[in-house]
Amino acid sequence: MSDRAGTGTTPLAVEHEDRPELRHHFADVVQQRNAASLGMWWFLGTEIMFFGGMFCGYLVYRRAYFPEFAAGSKSLSLIAGTVNTAVLICSSLTVALAVRASQLGKRKLLVNLLLATMFFGVCFLGIKGYEWHDEYVHHHVPTFYFNAHDLVTDNPNLHLDPQRTKIFYSLYFALTGVHALHMIVGLGIFSVITFMAWRGRFSPEYHTPIEIAGLYWHFVDIVWIYLFPLLYLIDRRPGA
């Protein structure tokens, strides 16, 4: 590492005047790119801890109140959950293709792929919002008006405790809500990099913002990949 920094043609800690995209404290663009990428990976490590705490709470309560969790899970729309998973996977594809377009310096393709990603992101939030509205109408939002007696009467032989289904919906809204918040933040980040791409700020030598924003987007996709089976597919067996 010190060798690379010391023997390069450009001395360390001097502005690279011929290359405005290369900050003075980096020896070359590769080092700069790796540092930025590593920073995003550290951040994603903290994000794993952030979601991990909620996942842990979910697992503990799911074990304790399994019948209520299974009934709550069954009240969610399997179609909407599956479609939303597919929508996010499509957005991850467009992100991967966008990073590729930026590596190849294809500006127009890059802008289109970033717009496609944002389109899929908005679709996801739209479907999610539709589901939330459905749960609001059924009084499944854990507030003062919460009412899960429909679940109790739908499963008469399970003798469900409505208060325990409230725990399921609390975790459901916390997890999907925080995930949706990450999607909204992602859309904000993508708006900025789409604008930058449209202005022609990226090149095959410099496209770090695309790459690390892409890492973030893929991470949010992975969180949903786990949320889908954990929330929607607790117990979908026929007759169970």
Partner: protein, 104 residues
Amino acid sequence: MAEHMEHVEHSEHIGSSSFYWLIWAILIVGTVLTALIARVDLGAFNTVVALLIASCKALIVVLFFMHVKYTSEKMTKAVLIAAVFWLLIMLFLSLSDYSTRYAG
């Protein structure tokens, strides 16, 4: 050393678009498969299979979409493995506690 540096400068992996489409197809098939298998009665294995498919999908995204398979930066892999490892410690110890401390 100079030759090595030259190599590093151009070593950024650029995947082919058909490869990314293939990864996309595998992920979509995995999603449909999860939803279908959930409706088949496998007993306690329903959850195991669902989480196994989810983990395969996550691994594919990390390796190919997030370029971890191609990165020359070993620290990226170290950070990723450390983060997942700590998550598993938290989940495993918490669940082993809760599943042995109370009878019900």
